[in-house]
Each structure stands twice: as C-alpha cells, then as structure tokens.
Amino acid sequence: MSEPHHSCCEHHDHHHELVVQGLRVSYRNTVALKDINFATSCGNRVALIGANGAGKSTLIKAIAGLVPRSRGSIHWRGTTVRRWSREFAYLPQREEVDWSFPITVRGLVEMGRYPQVGWWKRFSRTDDESVESALETLDLKDLQNRQIRELSGGQQQRAFLARAIAQEAHVLLLDEPFTGLDRRAAGQLGELLAQLAHEGRLIIASHHDLGSAPRLFDEALLLATHQVAFGAVEHTLTTAQLETCFAP
C-alpha cells in the first residue's frame, strides 16, 4: 500500500466530530428511526447493529442526506449538515449497484472527483493525481481498465472505496460492506477499513455479524428503530443489550 495521501486529522490538534442529535426519520405515518443521539470522531470505525428493519440502512442514508430527516440535526466539524456534505461518501449495498454499467474501474473512481472538478471543467493534474493515488491505495492499479462486473466482490467494494477516497471524503458511510464477501476478501476489507480509519477517516457501516464486530469496529450503535446503546464496541455488545435489540 502507498503512503496515505490525505488525512483529515494530520493538521489538527482536535479530532473532527460528528454529532447526531435527536434524529428521526419517518415515511408518511411510519416512524423508521427515532431518538438517535451519538457523537463520534474521525479515526473511528462505528458499526450500526440491529435486526432486519431496525433502521441500519435508514440511518446510513439519513446521515448521507438520501432520506429526509423529519427531526433532529447532524453536525460535522462544528457546522450543521443541512442535507448532504461533500465530505461524506455513501457506499451502497453491492446488490443495489448496476454492475453491468459500461464503465471501467478508473471511470468509476473518476466519478468521485466530479463534484470537486465541477460539472464542466476538465480534470486538472491534481484531479488525475488523486485518482491515481486512490487506485494505488486500494491496490486497483492493475485492474483500472476492467469493466466493473469483472471484479470480485472484494475488489468491487474496494473500487467504491477508491471512489470515496478520490472524492476526498472524510466520512465513509457503508451499507453492509461485508455482506457476500468470502473470508479472505472480508479480512482484506477489514484491514483496509482499519487503515483508512487510522489515516483519520470516520467509518460508519451497517453490520449484521455480531461475531466479527469487535474485531472490525471500535464503536457500536445498537438499533431497534430507536437507539438502544452506543459506545465502545466491547461495552455495547453486552448480552442484555443485544437481547433488547434482537428480542422477537
């Protein structure tokens, strides 16, 4: 792996904080998510844990600005995030992506730069360099001209991470990143997320495998349409709390 080309904490004494306060999401008359209150900072890996329908994906999407928040607020680095932030990158579940889309790995990573470059301007040398560097960091250099369907599951996940890194996102919002990966690919992805967090990014991912959570994440947020618990992963995933969360 190459040297980290970008770190959000390098030049700061304090850590960048993400604060979510009183968040609620409703669809028409159904409350999908309520009373979400937590604060975390860059450098952390946060797992969102809960049963199906507990609101994991909804929370990811609410932070990314993809579903309207009916109440509550999100602050990042001291400013309110109104709808979306360029410093957040959303990585969808793999099955939601149209992998047959005629685009190469490099093309996908370049898409991450579009907001920086603007809708009209040409790619500058800096833009090309960030694309190169993102491809290198995620070890995709040799695969850059492949069509995205020709990648393995782990490589596809890495391609989207490279896109997020080219975007210079500080907060990576991943929806079930480990689903469908074999052990080896899951292991690699785990190391990669650790490295990205170490470089100063904040990683928030929905996750359904309780067994691997302590190894892969620093903090956990237990969800059952409301927030059951939040904190360091080993303190949060206690039997009592998991029972509340997964009770039938």
């Binding site: 990158a89 939601e96 996908l108 579009y114 009209w120």
Partner: protein
C-alpha cells in the same frame, strides 16, 4: 445514377438530415442504453402519435409545426409526468409511463377517425426523409445543437445519476432535476427524428447505435461519441441504400442500424456470441 442523385436537392437535404439526426440521436442512445431505458423511449415514441393528432385538432390542419409541437407536448407531458408520478415511490416509473402513454395513445386513436388527414399521417408514422424541406433542416439543426450542447454541459451529473442515483444524491447531484432534464432531451430528440423515421421507428435510432457500441467497449464516453458517429454513418448509409434499392428511407435506416447491432452481437471481440473465449 448516384451522381445524378447527389445533385438532387431533395436527396441532398435527406442526406444532411440523416447526418444530423443520426448523430444527435446516436449520441442520446448512450443515455438510453445506460439507463436501460429502451422501453421508456418506445413508450415516448408512441406518445407522439396522439400528440400529432392533438396538434391537428387544435391547429385545424396537419402542418409541420402543428405536428412537431403536438408531438413534443405529448412526449414531454407523458415523460415528465411519469417522473412526477414516480416521485411518491409507490408507483415505479415504468408503471407510470405505461399507464400514461397507453392513455394518451388511446385518446389519439379515439380522436383519429374524426380528422380529415388520415392519409398524410402515414408520413409521420414511418417518416419521409426525402420530403424534408429547408425549414425542417434548420429545425433539426437547431434542436440537435441545443440538445447536444445541453447534454454535454450536464453530462457529469447525468452520468452520476444514471449510474447510481443514491450515490449521486449523496454527492449533491440534484437527481430528480437530472431525470427531468434527461426526459426532456429524449423527447426533443424523438421529435427531431419524426420526419426522418417517424414515430414508430424513431426508437431504433435512439437505441440501436449505443447498444451496438456497448458491445464493443467498456468506456462510457465512447458510448456517446461512438453512438453519434455510428448513428450518423448508419443513417447516411441507409438513405443511400434506400435510393439504390428503391426502398423507403426511414425503414432502411433502421434496418441498417439493426443489422450493425446484430453483427456486433455476433462478432464483438469481447462480448460476441460467436467469438470463442469471450468472457
């Protein structure tokens, strides 16, 4: 014989129209293929017929202008309407489109027997590129320039939207507006190709070129530019071939493009079904 034909102003205009329409629609076929939107375009193209009848009803006569405006109005109404209905998320856009376009088509069919111009309507169903006048050429040129410029200005947000709307929205792309824009551009392209290939066959021009290119490359920009060049070349070849074989021009254009697609499907180095060792 060919030289004679080339000096014929009707034929010259037909070639110019084929070149322009072929390029613009070939370019836009890239969006259609990326969005897997061929059926939507088919729906929009069928919407133009009731649009034309509506135009006749309001204007009282079948003129170039009444047909163009009627077709454009109907295509925009149904296309943008389907995006709006799908907003609620309860109804998928394809479903909305199917309901809206069949309703519009039904209205057109109901009005049709009461109009005096049923004979001429055939031109609009299958096109008559040899009847293209100088004004039509200018209209085609105008629409083509406008749509191509607009598409190129917004191609990045459009591509982001087409690839994965959620990721696009998280990057700050106004996804809904991009969808409206795309449907508007598609409606304009369809209307611009009315004279050349007519309502029914316009779908071919707006799908086949990029569908062919997508079998030959994985690079997204090539879909658009390659589609444009293939569309232009295929359309010009179609017009020349139709004169040589004494066939109607519109159908010949679509057959040429369809034939090229079949060739790519069979023999594409990477995706061709007859190529051994393809992935």
């Amino acid at each position: 014989m060919t030289l004679d034909l080339l000096q014929n102003p009707f034929f010259q205009r037909a070639l110019a129209a084929a070149l322009m329409i072929g390029f613009a629609n070939g370019f836009f076929s890239g969006f259609v293929v990326l969005r897997k939107h061929a059926l939507s375009v088919s729906a929009l193209s069928h919407t133009m017929l009731p649009g034309i009848t509506l135009g006749i009803l309001i204007a009282g006569a079948l003129t170039q202008l009444s047909a163009f405006l009627g077709a454009l109005f109907a295509a925009l109404f149904v296309g943008l309407g389907s995006v709006a209905v799908a907003r609620g998320k309860r109804i998928a856009q394809g479903t909305a489109l199917a309901v809206l376009y069949t309703t519009a088509f039904a209205a057109g069919v109901a009005i049709l027997p009461h109009l005096e111009t049923r004979q001429e309507l055939e031109h609009w169903l299958f096109g008559e590129i040899l009847a293209v006048g100088t004004t039509d050429l200018w209209i085609t040129f105008g629409i083509g320039t406008l749509t191509l410029l607009t598409a190129n200005l917004w191609i990045r947000p459009i591509l982001l939207t087409l690839f994965e709307p959620n990721v696009a929205a998280a990057q700050g792309v106004p996804v809904r507006r991009m969808q409206y824009l795309l449907f508007t551009l598609l409606a304009l392209s369809l209307v611009a190709s009315l004279q050349a290939v007519g309502c029914v066959l316009s779908v071919g021009l707006l799908v086949a070129p990029a569908a062919t290119i997508s079998l030959l490359t994985d690079r997204t920009p090539l879909l658009f530019w390659g589609g444009g060049i293939l569309g232009a070349a295929g359309s010009v070849a179609g017009v020349i071939l139709s004169a040589a074989l004494n066939l109607s021009a519109g159908p010949t254009i679509v057959m040429v493009l369809g034939g090229l697609f079949m060739l790519a499907w069979l023999f594409s180095p990477k995706y061709g079904v007859l190529v051994p060792g393809r992935r």
